[in-house]
């Protein structure tokens, strides 16, 4: 993504150029939708979050500081919106590191599930703030610095959160036999 192009498009969109706004939507709808989908694992909620994200972004373009990257700004809105949706859902239980009672054993799980599905399940089983850093890093391919800008967190906090998230995921996937 070319940041200069974003700045031009944002500037034109601010001036009321519908075509520029449309270009921004076409450019960012996929990463925004996918970030929301990974965080929520619910396509309809992800659609709603993506729509709200763009409407909020365009409604507050006057607040956007062009010294920062546009994508950091819109991803921050998307992540916050998705976390709000998660917050309004019933808690699904925090990861304990143990399989729930009555769950099939590791071998059966590996046989029964696609690896991708198991990854998504593992992702959904970790805390939302840990999931968010995994999504930013692995779905949106953001650098530590960009993640820090999106989450408004110090760089070291982002790193330790990402490392913790991966460690929890690794342990869970090892436990399920998805990884050896």
């Amino acid at each position: 993504v070319n940041e200069d192009d974003d700045r031009i498009l944002v500037s034109r969109c601010r001036e009321g150029d519908r075509g520029a706004c449309e270009q921004l939507v076409l450019r960012y709808q996929k990463p925004v939708f996918n970030a929301a989908l990974r965080l929520l694992r619910h396509p309809e909620d992800a659609h709603d979050v993506a729509q709200t994200t763009f409407l909020k972004a365009f409604g507050h373009l006057g607040d956007y500081d062009p010294r920062f990257k546009f994508y950091s700004w819109i991803y921050r809105i998307a992540v916050n919106e998705a976390l709000n949706v998660l917050g309004s859902r019933k808690p699904i239980g925090e990861i304990t590191g143990d399989e729930p009672d009555g769950a099939p054993g590791p071998e059966r799980r590996v046989e029964a599930e696609q690896v991708g599905e198991a990854i998504e399940e593992a992702l959904m089983s970790i805390k939302p703030d840990l999931r968010a850093v995994i999504v930013l890093r692995h779905s949106l391919q953001l650098s530590y610095e960009d993640m820090s800008e999106v989450l408004k967190l110090p760089l070291n906090t982002v790193k330790s959160r990402l490392y913790d998230a991966r460690q929890v995921l690794r342990d869970r996937l090892l436990q399920r036999g998805i990884m050896t």
Partner: protein, 222 residues
Amino acid sequence: MTDPALSALIQAEIDAELDGAGRAELARRLLADPEARAERDQYRRLASLLDAMPAIDPPESLAPGILAALPQSQFRHRSRGQEWRLAAMLAGVLIAGALVFETVKGPGPASVQLSGTIGASPNMTMVDTVRLGDGPAWAQVSLYREHAQLALKVEMGPDDSANVVIKSNDYDYTIRGAGRASQADNKLILLPNTQIDGHPVDVTLEVGGRAVAHARLRTSER
């Protein structure tokens, strides 16, 4: 028991965010400790599994829905009247240019070529245009310039299986026939100039996913 410092080194390496001193320290630990090597393998495997999660295309209704939901008062409207004025002005410039060209040079190239030889218009100038395909699957693609800003106008035939793929340098954009009403029909599409940076614009007409016609548009006037 995982050593957090080792885990941090391994993960920073996977993220390509490890500095020289960190790389040296990690190499030393890996050489000395088979468990450290096993741990690195696990994190690499995890990262590749996470990276491999496929990106899903958003529903086709998403972009039109967003644009429809935006308050129309937010946009400065290029009204039909303005569009007609722009078209009339462009036509005027073309005719004037053609007359000057005919007067000075005598009979010459077709109008499409002439449009590229006319001096810069004070507003938007067509730089190049091409028509691809025939029957219900066709596309007329015209490249305009307004100062440094490039824009495309794409008109397409009624065949919904037709797509127009626009490529230039590292810019890549597809206008889908089914979505043309919301994306391109009779509208100007702004092009990211810095990405195109003087390169020609390649236009391909695809029908049912297969390329059926191709042309190259120039981005500057001759």
